[in-house]
Amino acid sequence: MATELERFRDEVREWLELNCPASMRTPMVDSEIPWGGRNAKFPNPDTKLWLDRMIEKGWTVPTWPEQYGGAGLSIEQAQVLEQEMEKINARTPLFSMGIFMLGPVLLELGTEEQKQRFLPDIARGKRRWCQGYSEPGAGSDLASLSTKAELRGDHYLINGSKIWNSEADQSDWIFCLVRTDFDAPKHKGISFLLFDLDSPGVDRQPIKLISGSSVFCQTFFDDVKVPAENLVGEENAGWSIAKRLLQYERQNVGKHLNKSFDIKLWDLAKKYSSSADGQIEPDLRSRIARQAIQDGALGLLIERLEREADNPNAGSMSSVMKVAMADINLQRGELAIEAMGAAGLGWQGDEFPEEALGEVRVWLRGKANSIEGGTSEVNLNIIAKRILGLPDPQH
């Protein structure tokens, strides 16, 4: 068994060596992130080449079945692929909410027709998805959402508004929670719909954040017509699908952010130190060490949970990862700014190194980590209730 896996590792290594372009073995730059979709842009042609080659192998979604665009790899094989890509610093070929949020849910709960219709396009980056969950009046209390969907013969008519839709202005389709029954208890009147954001009646407005960028939108729906076959699962049974998707989101937010930084804090602290030999205050050094130890532990926790897929708490463990990730990442942001001293105070301009300006924006953007995908407080509630079995509050 082990030798079979090692043979696979050799194959992977050889293939990557031949097929991963040199410029795809450098750290990702924001302008080159491959999000796919109708309007995909590839300022670096290697990005397209790399994506096409990985699609060909089914390695954009390595564990998905082949008929949906994957390679049908086992979890162990997928980990080997990931490890070998890390070794050569290969970039992730495709960034996509379809891959890590919608896809797994459709694989579990979609009809065969829906799988064939949507999954291959996700695997190939043909359609860019965004999430339609929160509303201005439904944040942590997500199940109180009120965007309305009325069945009118062969289609639903959507009215309402969603907020915090990541990159909705750049996306093609939305997976959206809507209320189909206003009389039922709040968890029992929710449905899960998929639709095209170019449909008439959709209006997308970017929201400017404290980091100065606009990664989220508010989206308005005014009599938007959605074909009835775009309903996932049963009508009014969307809440359990919504929660399942959140578990995937939390797992992957944790995993993704954990891998994107590594040892940069040490480097920053040395580089921006005021002493010639890179010394910094012992207290700051100790806090950086503490954060690094926790960050390393999070990486090991993520690997462990992947190995323990049979853990009876596997679903709720995504909340553990999410809270830990947010906490550790928020610490990182604060420490990065502190480590850079005056250089870490810049907002814009040539007087500041580009890297420091980038860190400032990352620090501010990072403040959302303990809010998006379920606040840390909501996730602590889930851990207390689902894993620890603590009783519900009485009123």
């Binding site: 050094r285 090991l300 553990v320 809270v323 830990a324 602590l380 894993i387």
Partner: protein, 371 residues
């Protein structure tokens, strides 16, 4: 060699059964109340019969030839139950030392004696208040084909009943530190009353002669044998600490589910639920590092020093936090001597200190990462 997951589970179950039946916390409490200190030797024979001292000893020397992952299954259960035992010092630390060194008749015969239960060993490396394993005043001098050892070591765990000591000493006429196996005969031991109620003692040795082969020489000379031994001690102790932390946490969680105030279970209060959930997250992170460290030891990875410091620092912080919360969330009852919360926090602080505190290991981790 390591067992598959199913066999490990069986191993763990038998360790848990033994601990529950022969060494529950009530047993430790009873011994504490009836003796000056709790000796690990009292239940040792039963552990010998179960084959635990020899888990990591090669089969041809009378052991089971298994890894640290298997031994840790037993040590974790003992940590849960605050069992006093020389198993960590002897079965893990001394067996590691005697296996990591160049094999001689001397080392092989000592491993055989450990596996058969005839020899217990205590690790004696400390000379000052804070863990500083490379600041050593004890000396070793060569004399007529023997080593003459002189020195003093403080706060040695399991010292009072140990049959032998692993001591660090500066080799005269060189700047090398050596690790020697010193028989207890002739060593003077002063028992200490430490608040975890375990066996600890200061030891001194004055011109004690040991054979040439009593100097253990690292097989892998890329790092010092002393550091290799200490890293295994740190990881093994982290396993015990993780067991204690989990048990204290579960005890607290149980209390949140039965204690009523304001007409409801206090575990229904969100402020307390969040504190419990945060402890759980810390435990999961700590376990992940400990597992990785154990695997690194069994695979002989180069990451052992880094993971040892990461594990000891993280588990130390976690145990510190949980033992404090255990008292606070129990309220007044947690302050009483009759409750186990006190036994956990007292043992916790001693283990946090042993083989380097969290502060020591954060600093070491940073240095190992080149910072």
């Amino acid at each position: 060699m390591n067992l598959d997951r199913e066999s490990q589970q069986i191993f763990q179950d038998s360790a848990r059964d033994w601990v529950l039946n022969s060494a529950p916390i009530s047993h430790f409490r009873h011994q504490r109340d009836s003796q000056p200190y709790v000796s690990g030797r009292e239940l040792w024979q039963e552990q010998v019969e179960l084959g635990w001292p020899g888990i990591m000893v090669p089969e041809e020397l009378g052991g089971s030839g298994l890894g640290m992952q298997e031994l840790s299954l037993v040590i974790e259960q003992m940590g849960r139950s605050l069992t006093a035992s020389p198993l960590l010092s002897t079965g893990l630390i001394a067996v590691s030392a005697l296996s990591l060194c160049e094999q001689t008749d001397f080392s092989r015969s000592r491993l055989t004696s450990i596996a058969s239960g005839e020899l217990t060993v205590a690790l004696a490396t400390e000379e000052g208040n804070h863990h500083a394993p490379h600041c050593v005043s004890a000396t070793a001098r060569q004399h007529e084909g023997q080593w003459l050892l002189n020195g003093r070591k403080i706060r040695v765990a399991d010292a009072n009943s140990a049959d032998a000591f692993l001591v660090s000493a500066k080799i005269e006429a060189s700047d090398q530190l050596g690790v020697f196996l010193l028989p207890a005969e002739g060593v003077s031991v002063t028992p200490l009353a430490i608040f975890d109620s375990r066996e600890h003692g200061n030891i001194s040795f004055d011109a004690i002669a040991v054979p040439e082969q009593a100097l253990l020489v690292a097989r892998d000379s890329s790092t010092s044998l002393l550091d290799q031994i200490l890293d295994r001690a740190r990881i093994g102790l982290a396993v015990e600490m993780l067991g204690s932390a989990n048990a204290a946490f579960e005890m607290t969680l149980d209390y949140l589910k039965i204690r009523e105030q304001f007409g409801q279970l206090i575990g229904s209060f969100q402020a307390l639920q969040h504190r419990a959930a945060k402890m759980y997250i810390e435990l999961e992170l700590a376990r992940s590092v400990v597992d990785a460290a154990l695997l690194a030891v069994d695979e002989g990875s180069t990451e052992i020093p880094l993971l040892a410091s990461q594990a000891k620092a993280l588990v130390g912080d976690t145990l510190n936090h949980i033992t404090n919360e255990t008292i606070q969330l129990h309220g007044g009852i947690g302050m009483t001597d009759e409750h186990d919360a006190g036994l956990f926090i007292k043992r916790a602080r001693v283990t946090e200190y042993l083989y380097g505190s969290s502060a020591f290991h954060r600093d070491r981790y940073a240095r190992l990462r080149g910072f």
